[in-house]
């Protein structure tokens, strides 16, 4: 499963970069995120409650940042387990393009799911990810738009 997209953030590049690395901000922006803990400079542990069609579960995710080039690009290696619902793992490459007061953010994600998620949820995952992504950027952009 692969998908990509981009979003314009009305803030300078460094500011966006800092926000993307802030566990509190991430927790606010990820729908269903119950915990987001930074365990080392480039590692986070998260708990996210998600519903994929008939499968409802809390994922425990281990998120590792690799290939970090501040403040323009990094890759997230994510491995998540959802108990009886199965597992998901994948990576997301994120890059920021500085347009002065605005920053363009590109993301490319690929991942696989296993277990019940694949069995009964695989057709629905695209839609769920769409929703999560939209939610994330809406919330993320709001950090700046709501200030003005």
């Amino acid at each position: 499963m692969e998908f990509q997209g981009e979003s314009n953030i009305p803030a300078p590049c460094q500011e966006v970069w800092d926000a993307l690395l802030d566990p509190e901000i991430l927790k606010e922006c990820i729908d269903g995120c119950q915990e987001m803990t930074q365990v080392s400079e480039h590692q986070y542990l998260a708990k996210v409650r998600a519903r994929i069609g008939p499968v409802r579960t809390t994922f425990s995710a281990n998120i590792q940042m690799v290939d970090v080039v501040a403040p323009t690009s990094y890759t997230l290696e994510v491995s998540a387990t959802g108990g009886a619902a199965g597992f998901g793992k994948g990576s997301a490459s994120i890059s920021l393009v500085d347009h002065g007061s605005e920053t363009q953010m590109h993301y490319a994600v690929n991942g696989v799911v296993g277990g019940k998620l694949a069995q009964i949820g695989s057709r629905l995952i695209g839609g769920v990810i769409d929703k999560l992504t939209t939610h994330f950027f809406t919330k993320f952009v709001e950090r700046w738009t709501l200030q003005t």
């Binding site: 108990g83 009886a84 799911v113 296993g114 277990g115 019940k116 694949a118 069995q119 057709r123």
Partner: protein, 782 residues
Amino acid sequence: MATETGIGASVRRTEDARFITGTGRYTDDINVPGQTYCVFVRSTHARAKIKSIDTSDALSTPGVVAAFVGADLAKDEIGDLPCGWLVKSKDGSDMIAPPHPPIATERVNYVGEPYALVIGETVQAAKDGAEAIVAEFEIQTPVMDVASATQSEQIHESVPSNRSYDWELGDKAATDAAFEDAAHVTSLDIVNNRLIPNAIEPRAALGSFDAASETYTLHTTSQNPHLERLVLAAFVNIAPEAKLHVVSPDVGGGFGSKIFVYAEETAVIWASAKVGRPVKWTADRVESFLSDAHGRDHVTHAELALSEEGDFLGLRVKTTANMGAYLSTFASSVPTYLYGTLMAGQYKTPAIYVEVQAVFTNTAPVDAYRGAGRPEATYVVERLVETAARELNTDVAELRRRNFINPEDFPYETPVALTYDTGNYAASLDKALEYANYSGFASRKARSEADGKRRGLGFSCYIEACGLAPSQVALSLGAGVGLFESAEVRVDVTGSVTVMTGAHSHGQGHETTFAQLVSDKLGIPFENVSVVHGDTRRSDYGLGTYGSRSIAVGGSAISKATDKIVTKAKKIAAHMLDSEEDQVSFDDGIFTIPDSNESLTFGEVAFSAYVPGNFPLDELEPGLSEKAFYDPANFTYPAGTHICEVEIDSETGTTSIVSFVAVDDFGNVINPMIVEGQVHGGLAQGIGQALLEHGIYDSDGQLVSGSYMDYTMPRADDLPDFVVDTTSTPCTHNPLGVKGCGEAGAIGATAAVMNAITDALGVKDLPMPATSETVWRAIQGG
């Protein structure tokens, strides 16, 4: 006796009263005091090494009674799940059966393979415990493609090239020579799609252990409880057969998938002694998809050689059969002795050569599913024959007729190890042609075309070898068990009768059919006969129900036991009438002697048998109860013609089956209504394979058609109003002249549907299932 309830009468099924009022008694309906619940923890990876399994959090979960891993079973010397049919490769070597521990120990080899079990006070507690099991895996690349499995990474240490066997049947040299002489060769590359059985009742097991008597009792959804007991005793080492009581109560459908001995009932019966309390497991639908043995899944290259005039000269078939990750109970026999042996079909093809290699992949095990090997064989032969007729611009019916084995040719020995006892293939074809209004097809096609639609007609003249038996043949070909059947007929004091059969009904209506048979033979009311099955302590022995064997083998055993009852009853009647045994006639429930108006009813003789006031006890024992074991001399060979007519919407690719005719020769028929019902069900499954059903794993080994959202079961609105009729050439070697009808629909229908669709589209082949997308793409030209 021709009565409303005798042989040949469409008696309403007596068992249906409980089935349709919700008062059936299935395994999950049975509850025993102190019962606990088992949940299996299943692999979400298709291929991985187990690095560690930690059950400690599970054990401290509230309500959890116990948690076990594969090593716990191994410590108790619980054996592997065996494959009961030894197939040999071309070079004479035995097939390779990799170790199949019930609960995975070192590695997992398909998504859904159990690696731990948790037992709880409630299902929810056990589920919570299962969630708390922490397992670490080293994930490996799975082997998913059947065609390239032999060149892929090795799944099992003991199986080089992932190949269990490389089998052959027939005369290679003669077949190759036939192809050299051929005026025309038709060839096809065929994929027989993987199917998932989907019985309406999921598998279930309830195991109990009585410490005082050291006896285990297992209630389970088995099509063959005695076989279950045999395997659990002899291979799995649970307990001796005498200390194992297996009951298959009402069972809601099997289609083959409940023949096999699975991990779950094995673990449950073992665990019941371990925890000292009864343990119950009932599969949810997701588990059924993942862990019931799947069906079909062949990749085949097939060629038919023909003469200028259209005579079949030779048939060459090379198949790779997917076994899944392990060899299930009878998996090895399905693509060999139930497949290669059927390649003659209804035809006099003089030279046939079949090669089958069985390979392992990281998927659920594949085993017998309705028809088991014979649908795959019919698909190969009937797709080839229809394609050949089109290539030669010959009438598809007449090309078949030209090559039919004729009534005067029986018994007919095929080049692939079978001897057909009887048949009249042209009779079924003619009747089917009439029902299908074959001559009117051209005008119907023109009318469809005028409406912008495409119409096609497809045939399938199938044959099957069923009534699975005979023991001597099966044993000589590698079967691990005999294939006879047993019966006991007990006459009660008041003349009513209880029949114990080793056959097992999981939807077939045995309680009605067998009662008709016995009441007809004994001339007693249908209502006075009860049929008991599915209990190893009530029936002597039994091989169960599969391979359309219940009436041909089980019914014949009952017939034989009933004959013994008549013989004994005549002795008693002779004594009562002061005559000689050979002077007594028995007809329609009445015993008479010549030159006398004295007679006795069956009831009077039965009563006397149990109230033996003045029996000469050294010559005549009291009682009236007889047993029989019946082992037939040959398979039975039901055969028939199915004709399917489709209309395809050119814009959407949607296929409608506008007519489906099935004319089958089942020999004698006991209950035509039940037979028609069996044909309907089989047709639905055969059509389902062609149009709708597909078990799909993605390249990571995840089952992506693992629920009814993605796996399309045929529904009533997908199916036409079937035209079903029979012809009859009675089986020559069983006492009832019956052949069996359970699988015919699924065996014949698939090829007929695909022949119709390819005819409508004017394409040589199309992958199954022919969904609207597949058909639409074919219309668009690729």
